[in-house]
Every structure is written in structure tokens, then in C-alpha cells.
């Protein structure tokens, strides 16, 4: 060993991930560009601020969370603003990602049926592109849910401007949507971390390995490899 510490050169794939995505660099594929990742985390952080300020208002069972922010009055003030940030970043992300989210013919029907279960049992999906059908459907469901939370949330934010029945309905719909959201987010975090190792780094450094892509998104791997060949 020499006396000076050897400096690892920066991973060229990670460097490339600053401005590009869907390319192959060495043995790694760039899955999410820097803008894409920052958008995802902006949505995630605003969501969790909204979640932790909303839960203590929702039920006293989570009342202790209010102290993280300085009390329930602060939550009541912060929650709608977190919601505004969440909605703005979500809309931005929606249009940024929409191009990759086109459903293939028959895919929607498949995923509402047996495909969901075979996916949960880890069966191969040779056709999965950059996003599989379930991911795409989740994307649309979350976007729709965001819209529902925004509209009902506005009514709850300014109750004096709306009739009583609409306020009551908004609270019920806000709660229902958020319950679906909470279940969805638990699954999303599980699949993105523990269940599928190698996935989380696509949202941190932006790259994934070839074996990961071959297993989870073989269609995407083919496309990216072909593009590289074409460019070369």
C-alpha cells in the first residue's frame, strides 16, 4: 500500500446520471436523471410533511406526531401548505414522467387481473419496459389521488366558503383517498427497498446494474442497449 490514499475515480455512470437517463454506461444503466430524482424526493418530502401533520388531526391516536411540529395548531397551519407543495411537485412530476407511462395494449386489463398476483409471486415478466404495468397504474392512481386530496383539501382549508354538505363530503373523501394513499405508499416503499434490492439506488445515485434491469425490466434493457448500439 502506498502512503497516499488512492482516490476512486467517480463512477462514470453516476456522472452521466446528472443529465441523462435511459443510457448504458459501462455495466450500469442510468434510470433516473438528477431532475427526475429531485422531483421524486420533493414529492416524497412534501407528502410526508403532509402525512405527519395530517395524522394528528385525523385521529388522537397519532396526536403525539403534532409535537414534532410544535403542536396541533402548527399542524393545522402547515398541513395545507405541505399539500400545496405536494400538489405542485406532483403535477410537475406527472408531466415530466408522462412520456414513459404509456400503457401497452391490453396491459391495463392484465394488471387488474391475474398479472398483479403473478407479479407479487415474482414470476418473470419478459415484456416489462422502463415501467411495468403495475408501476404505470400506480402512477395514474397516485396522480388521481393527489387531485382528490387537493380539491377536497381546498374545501377543508376554507370551510366558510362552501356549503355544509360539501364540507362533510370533502372530509370523508379526503380521508378515504388518504387511506388508499397510505396503503399504496407502504407498498411503494417496501417494493423500492427491501423487496427488490438494487432498486433504491436508482432514486439516489440514479443508476442500476445490468442484472437488475434484466430481472425487473428486460424490455427497457433491450431498448437501452439497442439505442447504444445504434449510437455507436
Amino acid at each position: 500500500m502506498s502512503t497516499t490514499m488512492p482516490v476512486e475515480p467517480l463512477n462514470p455512470a453516476v456522472l452521466a446520471a446528472r443529465h441523462n437517463e435511459d443510457i448504458l454506461v459501462g455495466d450500469e444503466l442510468v434510470r433516473h436523471s438528477r431532475v427526475s430524482r429531485l422531483l421524486h424526493w420533493a414529492v416524497a418530502i412534501s407528502f410526508f410533511v403532509g402525512l405527519f401533520t395530517g395524522l394528528p388531526i385525523w385521529t388522537p391516536l397519532f396526536g403525539w406526531m403534532a409535537y414534532l411540529f410544535g403542536g396541533l395548531e402548527v399542524c393545522r397551519w402547515l398541513h395545507p401548505w405541505a399539500g400545496v407543495a405536494f400538489a405542485l411537485f406532483s403535477v410537475w412530476m406527472f408531466f415530466y414522467w408522462l412520456g414513459d407511462m404509456r400503457m401497452l395494449p391490453g396491459e391495463t386489463r392484465e394488471w387488474f387481473g391475474p398479472k398483479l398476483w403473478t407479479y407479487m409471486k415474482y414470476e418473470d415478466e419478459p415484456d416489462a419496459g422502463k415501467y411495468n404495468g403495475g408501476q404505470k397504474l400506480f402512477f395514474y392512481a397516485v396522480s388521481l389521488g393527489m387531485l382528490g386530496l387537493l380539491l377536497t383539501g381546498l374545501v377543508m382549508w376554507f370551510p366558510l366558503l362552501f356549503p355544509r354538505w360539501l364540507r362533510g363530503l370533502s372530509i370523508v373523501l379526503h380521508d378515504f383517498t388518504f387511506i388508499c394513499f397510505m396503503v399504496g405508499i407502504v407498498m411503494h416503499i417496501y417494493l423500492g427497498t427491501t423487496a427488490e434490492p438494487g432498486t433504491f439506488r436508482s432514486m439516489t445515485q440514479g443508476t442500476v446494474t445490468k442484472p437488475w434491469a434484466r430481472l425487473h425490466h428486460p424490455g427497457w434493457l433491450r431498448t437501452v442497449t439497442e439505442n447504444k448500439d445504434r449510437r455507436a
Binding site: 388531526i57 385525523w58 385521529t59 388522537p60 391516536l61 396526536g63 396541533l72 395548531e73 399542524c75 393545522r76 407479487m120 409471486k121 415474482y122 377543508m156 370551510p159 366558510l160 355544509r164 354538505w165 364540507r167 362533510g168 363530503l169 372530509i171 370523508v172 380521508d175 378515504f176 388518504f178 387511506i179 397510505m182 396503503v183 407502504v186 407498498m187 417496501y190 427491501t194 423487496a195 427488490e196 434490492p197 438494487g198 432498486t199 433504491f200 439506488r201 439516489t204 446494474t209 442484472p211 437488475w212 434484466r214 430481472l215 425487473h216
Partner: protein, 292 residues
């Protein structure tokens, strides 16, 4: 907030705070709309005793002070010109918090202890715990709690809990010059009301009723009406705590907690059954699979 009174029910409470140590009978206001002369002494007394700001009057074409109750105006005489069988009737009713036995405001309130119901039936807002979300206004079938823009909190009639707890009658009752207002135990006031209704019926007002709506468990304000048409007096005919409020407190809340717990348990069960999904190339090398 009166600390000496036993709290029967408290908003957004996990276990409740009812001790049962102090007992007291349910109290009630008695309002006889047939002997009200619309002098508004009760309005003035309410403003004065509760140290409320003066609210600019709004002319709406009647003698009524304001179109609706206000965060700074908790006692409002409503004036209504009503034609009955070709005859003109001038109906007056004292409007304020009804102090329901089953209060919709308390059911809807998300802030622990911001709305309490005392053992004697009085429903009160504790502004120090109120977060000003306005859910109580959504839960109230009488549209009573109002948002105080200056304080950012909700406000309404307290039934002069600070007077009642030391044995005085509410300020509005004390000020009434005709005796159309009275105060005592709910039992006594209902008896008084029934006597008055019988007297009215015997004198030609066959439709006279005592308004004590059972849909909200009865109220601590019992009102004698000359006509069995609550809507003429701007009272709901059969008030209930809204179905949507019940749905969100009694159905969605437990359902949501169960759903969240089920989702977490479900992921653990899935992981225990199928484990992580690792590419075949990485399966023998645990370190490369972690992905960090």
C-alpha cells in the same frame, strides 16, 4: 373554562375524561316564543356579560340585528313575518347554541379537549385548545359555531357556564323582562314547557309544541312554539348529527388504522413468504444485492 365542573365528554379524546365523581342534574334554558316581545334585552346582556365586541348591525329588512349568529354575537332574536290562515303573525325566536345532549360539534372536533360537554349538559368551546379548523361548524345541525377571524378560533354561546357553575342563571335569562325565558333543571323546564303548551292548546293554538329534538338526544334549550312548524322559526324539523360526520369518525377512522396496519403486516408477510427479488447473478453475493 370552568375547572370545577365535571367533564362528561371531551372532543378527540382517546379514553374520555368522565370520572363520575361530581354529579349534577342537566340544566336547560326555557324559551317561550309566544311571550317574547323582541326587546333584545337578552342580546345586550349576552354581549355585556361575555365582554364581546360590538358588531355593526346589518339591516335585512326586519328588526333582526344580524342575518346570522356571529363569533362576536352569540344570542340573536330572529324576527319572522309569517302568514297563517290569512292572518299575519310576527314570530320571534331567541337563537343561540342549543347545547345538544349528543353534540355534532363535539363529534366532529379533531382537537383534544377543544369542545367539552359538562356533566350538567353545557357544551363549551375551549379556545386555548381550539385549532380553528371549523369542523364543528360542519358537524353542527343548527349552524351555531362561528369562526372568529381575529382570534382564529371558534366561538359560540357558553350557556354562561361561568355564571351557572356558581349558581347564577345565564345573563340572557336575568335580563328578560317578560318572563318568557327561564332557567333550571332540564326536567323542570320540560315540565314548564309542557304546561305552557297545554295552556296554548286550550286557548286555540292547537299546533303548539315544545321543541326538544330527540334526533340529537334532546337539547338543553327547550323552546315553546305556537305552531308545529320549526322551519318557520328557522329551526331544523328533525336535526341529526350528519351521516358524513358519523362516517368519518366511526367508520373511516378505525378502517384507516386497520388498513395501515394491514399494509405493514402484509409487506412483512410477503417478505417472509417470497423474500427479496434478487437477480440470479447476485444471489450468491449478499453484499452486491443491498444496492446502497
Amino acid at each position: 373554562m370552568a375547572q370545577t365542573l365535571e367533564i362528561k365528554r371531551s372532543s378527540a379524546s382517546m379514553w374520555g375524561s368522565h370520572t363520575g365523581i361530581r354529579t349534577s342534574p342537566t340544566v336547560a334554558k326555557y324559551i317561550d316564543t309566544t311571550t317574547c316581545i323582541g326587546c333584545k334585552a337578552c342580546e345586550a346582556a349576552c354581549q355585556e356579560w361575555n365582554d364581546l365586541r360590538r358588531v355593526p348591525h346589518q339591516q335585512i329588512g326586519t328588526y333582526q340585528t344580524l342575518p346570522e349568529l356571529h363569533a362576536d354575537f352569540w344570542n340573536l332574536i330572529r324576527f319572522k313575518e309569517q302568514e297563517v290562515n290569512g292572518d299575519f303573525n310576527w314570530l320571534m325566536r331567541k337563537d343561540q347554541c342549543m347545547h345538544c345532549a349528543d353534540p355534532g360539534c363535539l363529534a366532529a372536533c379533531p382537537a383534544p379537549g377543544a369542545i367539552v360537554q359538562y356533566e350538567n349538559g353545557i357544551v363549551d368551546v375551549n379556545q386555548d385548545k381550539c385549532i380553528g379548523c371549523g369542523y364543528c361548524a360542519t358537524g353542527c345541525p343548527f349552524d351555531v359555531p362561528k369562526f372568529h377571524a381575529k382570534g382564529g378560533k371558534m366561538a359560540k354561546c357558553t350557556l354562561c357556564v361561568d355564571r351557572v357553575e356558581v349558581g347564577l342563571e345565564p345573563a340572557c335569562i336575568k335580563a328578560c323582562p317578560t318572563g318568557c325565558l327561564n332557567f333550571g333543571t332540564k326536567e323542570d323546564m320540560v315540565a314548564l314547557g309542557n304546561t305552557r303548551v297545554k295552556a296554548l292548546q286550550a286557548n286555540g293554538f292547537k299546533d303548539a309544541v315544545l321543541y326538544d329534538p330527540q334526533g340529537v338526544g334532546g337539547t338543553s334549550v327547550v323552546t315553546v312554539l305556537k305552531y308545529d312548524k320549526p322551519e318557520w322559526y328557522k329551526l331544523p324539523a328533525d336535526p341529526h348529527v350528519g351521516l358524513l360526520v358519523r362516517a368519518w369518525k366511526n367508520v373511516l377512522r378505525p378502517l384507516g388504522v386497520v388498513a395501515a396496519a394491514a399494509a405493514v403486516i402484509g409487506t412483512f408477510a410477503h417478505f417472509a413468504t417470497y423474500g427479496p427479488k434478487v437477480p440470479p447473478e447476485d444471489r450468491d453475493d449478499a453484499s452486491s444485492g443491498s444496492g446502497r
